[in-house]
């Protein structure tokens, strides 16, 4: 399994850069997710790696080999398309065998390897069927087998779960992850779904408007987002604008004074306070925390495992979204309009730069 290395890659359409000076290294056997809203350039980047879109600038190396100017059929990447893109006129067996045939593999070897690949995705008895005779999840697995059977240097997946229904999405996702780990595949995975990316990837690349906003592991991105975009794209966040008033003291535009680590910012400089809803405590216990305010509950939405509260501070009327886990034992129903306290520790309050 090779590594993948992308250096200063840019794709321009006229004045607009769909992918803007992106550099990225994917280690052997690593699964990296490209994550971002639609139009952020993640699919363009994947298609540039596969060779379907020519680079305007920059280089792509697969296993140390410069493939920037190679056509797609000479790149040895195995791609799974969002629409699966199975050959409708070929059987499942013929679909999976296609890549080996193109490589001129002998008949016997093709039969063995296709059989193994179909066994890997638990479709060994489906070889004679045509794609239209399979369910969406089965078609997906054929597409995976077809891409894997050629033992690609890099495994590329373009929103592979987006055409599956919710329950299937989770199990197919875990299946892809376990195959990837078992075979040690260097993998790039495009998705717009943050939960998918968090659950499956070793590292995440968050993109927006063609630019890489941040690269890191799930907890790095979630707990230390580098910018407002990443903080609001991954999970929920209370993002409150203000400025640093004094060392360890942040003043929101609403006027609240909040104790937090301001070491990255000069006094007086503007910043955004990022507070994750599940890091905020509500109730009388909250009054003892580093930051605490008298507040009232404005709205409560029961979500099964947790309840989302909208809490408004008495001082300066700042609304905060708070997530309270619903534990059986401590299932104290919160009433709308109730007077209470909100609070959070200094560590829970993160200051980030304005975008």
């Amino acid at each position: 399994m090779g590594t993948l290395s992308v250096r200063n890659l840019t794709k321009r359409y006229g004045a607009m850069a769909a992918v803007d000076n992106v550099s990225l290294d994917v280690e052997g056997s690593e699964l990296v997710a490209l994550l971002g809203p639609s139009g952020c350039g993640k699919t363009t980047l994947l298609r540039m790696i596969a060779g379907f879109i020519a680079a305007s600038e920059g280089e792509i190396f697969i296993g140390g080999r410069d493939v920037t100017y190679l056509p797609p059929h000479k790149r040895d990447t195995g791609m799974v398309f969002q629409s699966y893109a199975l050959f409708p006129h070929l059987t499942v067996f013929e679909n999976v065998a296609f890549g080996l045939e193109m490589r001129g593999a002998p008949k016997d070897e093709i039969r063995t390897r296709v059989g193994d690949a179909l066994k890997l995705v638990r479709l060994d008895s489906y070889g004679e069927r045509y794609p239209r005779q399979l369910s969406g999840g089965q078609q997906q697995r054929v597409a995976i087998a077809r891409a894997l059977v050629i033992r690609p240097d890099v495994f590329l997946l373009d929103e592979p779960l987006s055409n599956l229904d919710a329950k299937l999405r989770q199990s197919v996702g875990l299946e892809i992850r376990s195959l990837q780990k078992m075979l040690g595949l260097t993998t790039v995975f495009v998705t717009h779904d943050q939960n998918e990316a968090l659950a499956l990837a070793d590292r995440l690349v968050v993109m927006d408007q063609g630019i890489v906003r941040q690269i890191g592991s799930a907890d790095e991105l979630y707990l230390r987002p580098s910018c407002v975009f990443v903080a609001s794209f991954l999970g929920q966040a209370n993002l409150i604008r203000g400025h640093v008033q004094a060392p360890s003291l942040f003043r929101t535009n609403d006027g609240l004074a909040i104790k937090c680590d301001t070491s990255q910012f000069g006094s007086g400089s503007p910043a955004v306070l990022c507070l994750r809803p599940e890091h905020i405590e509500v109730g009388t216990d909250a009054a003892a925390l580093d930051n605490s305010f008298a507040a009232s509950v404005q709205a409560a939405t029961y979500l099964g495992a947790s309840t989302d509260l909208t809490v408004r501070t008495d001082e300066n009327s700042t609304d905060l979204l708070v997530q309270v886990p619903n534990k059986i034992a401590s299932s104290v129903a919160v009433k709308t309009g109730e007077k209470t306290f909100v609070g959070w520790s200094t560590q829970a309050a993160l200051l980030i730069r304005e975008d």
Partner: protein
């Protein structure tokens, strides 16, 4: 409104819809039915009601050499024009759909041009043009099979482009990308994936082209040799002398052949999806 009234009003609507369909299709089928019916009339002139029925006109039509020769010529011309038209039209369709060049819509509009020029005038223009070619480079196309084939190709190309383009637009481009990704060179992508996927559009185009060419009278009018006319011209010439059920019999045979060709190909490509 009661349950019964609701059901009744639904029934009335469905009845009206059915009536319209039946009326339109009776209208469309009238000529075919009349022709097939008339080919059995036991009278030497086409007139209703027939005094009796006979099969003799089929024998008569078979013995009339011009019909047989016409069938042969028309079949050859239609075959040639279909091959040429489908080849060129398919290539043009690929270029139109895949190039994404600007101005493609204008070019698609130009496909109408053989429709807006009266076919008989297309025949004249080509006749004059072929004379010029014969004068200039010594290849005489004015009264041979090749002249007819080239002329009919003008009719088959637009049908091919229309049908193949409709088929190509619906194809998922990423299937070809998948083939390239699996190591297929552009040529192999085309032969192994693109062509097989275009199959239904190309077959439909070939069928339509063949029929259109076989039936065409006007383009051929000035281009046929005295000895080797096409079938529609043979019919026209026969009618100048007499109007007896032999013409109907010859046409019935031709309709049967074309209809069975359509039915057989419907097994491979659903015509209702491409027509």
């Amino acid at each position: 409104m009661t349950r019964e009234a609701l059901i009744d009003s639904g029934r009335i609507a469905r009845f009206l819809l059915a009536a319209v369909i039946v009326f339109v299709f009776i209208t469309l089928l009238t000529p075919v039915v009349l022709v097939v019916w008339a080919s059995f009339f036991d009278s030497s002139f086409l007139s209703f009601p027939p005094p009796g029925y006979t099969l003799k006109w089929f024998a008569q039509a078979a013995e009339h050499g011009a019909f047989l020769r016409g069938f042969e010529t028309s079949a050859k011309v239609a075959f040639g024009a279909t091959c040429l038209g489908v080849f060129l039209g398919t290539a043009a369709s690929l270029a139109i759909v895949r190039s994404g060049l600007p101005g493609m819509k204008l070019i698609q509009g130009m496909l109408l041009s053989p429709m807006i020029v009266p076919n008989i005038v297309i025949g004249i223009a080509l006749y004059v043009f072929f004379i010029r070619i014969a004068d200039g480079i010594g290849i005489d196309l004015t009264n041979g099979l090749w002249g007819l084939i080239l002329a009919h190709t003008l009719l088959t190309i637009p049908w091919t482009v229309r049908l193949v383009c409709a088929n190509l637009v619906g194809l998922n481009r990423s299937i070809e990308e998948a083939a390239a990704n699996l190591g297929a060179s552009p040529l192999r992508v085309f032969t192994r994936v693109t062509l097989p996927m275009m199959r239904s559009g190309v077959i439909a185009a070939a069928l339509f082209s063949f029929i259109i060419s076989f039936e065409n009278l006007e383009v051929s009018l000035l281009l046929v040799q005295p000895g080797s006319t096409t079938f529609p011209i043979a019919v026209l010439q026969y009618l100048e002398f007499k109007m007896d059920p032999a013409v109907a019999a010859a046409t019935t045979v031709q309709v049967l052949i074309v209809a069975s060709a359509l039915l057989i190909s419907d097994r491979y490509v659903k015509l209702s999806r491409v027509v």
